[in-house]
Amino acid sequence: MWLAALWLRAVCLECSKNKIIVQDIFIPIIYLFSAVLFILGLRQLSHPRTAPKGNNTAAIGMLLAVIATLLNNQILDFQTIFIGIVIGSAIGAVLAKRVEMTSMPQLVALFNGFGGIASLLVAAAEFYKGEPLLVFTLATITLSVLIGAVTFSGSLVAFAKLQGLLRGTPIKFSGQHSINGILAGVVVLLAVYAVLDPAQASNAVLAIIVISLFLGILFVIPIGGADMPVVIAMLNSFSGLAACATGFVIQNDALIISGSLVGASGIILTDIMCKGMNRTIWNVLFAGVGSAIEGSPLEVDPMKTVKSYEPEDTVVIFENSKQIVIVPGYGLAVAQAQHMVHELQELLEGKGVIVKYAIHPVAGRMPGHMNVLLAEANVPYDSLYDLDQINPEFEETDVTLVIGANDVVNPAARHDVNSPIFGMPILDVDKSQTVFVLKRSMNPGFAGIENELFYKDNTIMIFGDAKDTVSKLVSELK
């Protein structure tokens, strides 16, 4: 990286005789180079083996973009810039080093918010320069501050919900949607007003920022904790679109390209999360799902019975299996049982058993979260299987071990049209020979739906704390 900087410096000195070449050709070419590095970096992210390299590639792209910008002869004050870079880098580094993997969703939410507000500030700075602005530029400024503000306040609410500072259940009041609609309408009117009368735009832009901040809050508070993965993915997309809009404001292609990449990424992830829950994005955003859990206890058919074993009784079944599939849910991460599960995997593999993990798209608190939590516990990535890969394998699986997962293994999603989760893609664990379900008690899961898997003939419950149960299994197997 330093070599690249030195090289750039040399080239820059060479070009200093001819400023125009630097300003109009050299810097934009470096920006193009940065954009190419971002794309290559994302491409290397398509395999865990090449992914660390991809991250470095993208980081070098960013470094080049920053250096190229500093070569711009419009920049006069390097001291302010230096202070800003040092403070920002220090805070970022501390956050990145300190964060627990379970808290990754909160961190990403926070970063989304920072990205959004930074784009807003850049657009606002362009606006307050006091230079006459084109109508189009004014229009993009209003768009940029709108997206930036919604991303910022929305992300902070998502952060507060995930961090437990705000309650996870939807916060709803009557007329919520009408208020949001009216506020959005006012923003549009203000934007039109600003564009039509640039002399008065100053107040309008300020008003747009304030109202958009409120909109962001109102937009996320009615969304339940279980739907936060969708919200984070969407805000991720927004943070990219905010950068993109700001790119139009300052007429910079690097911002437009990078912002679009992030915007596209967020949209894809949002879509995957929605499909994983068999919901539409509109249902997630506006239905306030997760508010009606309290009260009404489940009606359980008294004729239905569950079988329950002690951990010690199950060891023989494990030892005599050919293939075992482990289905981790977020309950596993809450119990901090990942490391113990990995130990179990190694013991079983030592006895010649094939061990695979089945990861449902919504297993964690954000897309791919469970995979990271397992990777942290040294579970090799090639034993992690996603829904489409593992479902055909359950019929040849001797034992499936469900740990802290509930709705994603409920067969009712396949056939019970009255079930709230009907149609949701699930892991077909009930097709394996024996299913062990590790669970604290018979209480229903997050969605408050009874799970018919627990009453099946081939299902055996093991009650207790997940970590305790797995460690008992481990010591019995040793």
């Binding site: 920006y31 994302l42 491409r43 992210l45 398509s46 865990p48 083996r49 991250n55 980081a59 960013m62 920053v66 910008t69 500093l70 920049i75 006069l76 004050d77 302010t80 810039i81 800003g84 920002g88 880098s89 805070i91 970022g92 990145a96 080093k97 990754m104 970063f111 920072f114 507000i117 930074a118 850049v122 606002a124 700075a125 362009e126 307050y128 189009f136 991720n236 943070s239 990219g240 700001t246 300052i250 910079n252 690097a254 911002l255 437009i256 990078s258 679009s260 990449l261 992030v262 596209a264 990424s265 990861i359 964690g364 897309p367 791919g368 995979n371 990271v372 990777a375 040294n378 990535y381």
Partner: protein, 92 residues
Amino acid sequence: MNGQLLVEIYVFVLAVFVGFEVISKIPPTLHTPLMSGSNAISGITIIGALLAAGSLPGTLSATLGLIAIILAMINVVGGFMVTGRMLRMFKK
């Protein structure tokens, strides 16, 4: 509508398509690092922040730019570092 704007719109539309192509090939296993990594990339707004903070010393724009530099830098440095930290955990 001037020519430059039109080119920018071209760039935007084509970049969205590239984004969809590249990102749809990323496996679910890496979706969390993808999010934190793309987060860092959206910190590209740092370019605008640097220009705003550096070009008009002592103005409101420069102050807004300075705050933007700090926030974008948190995004860039924090985003790339935490992504690297996660990716190093993935082992065969």
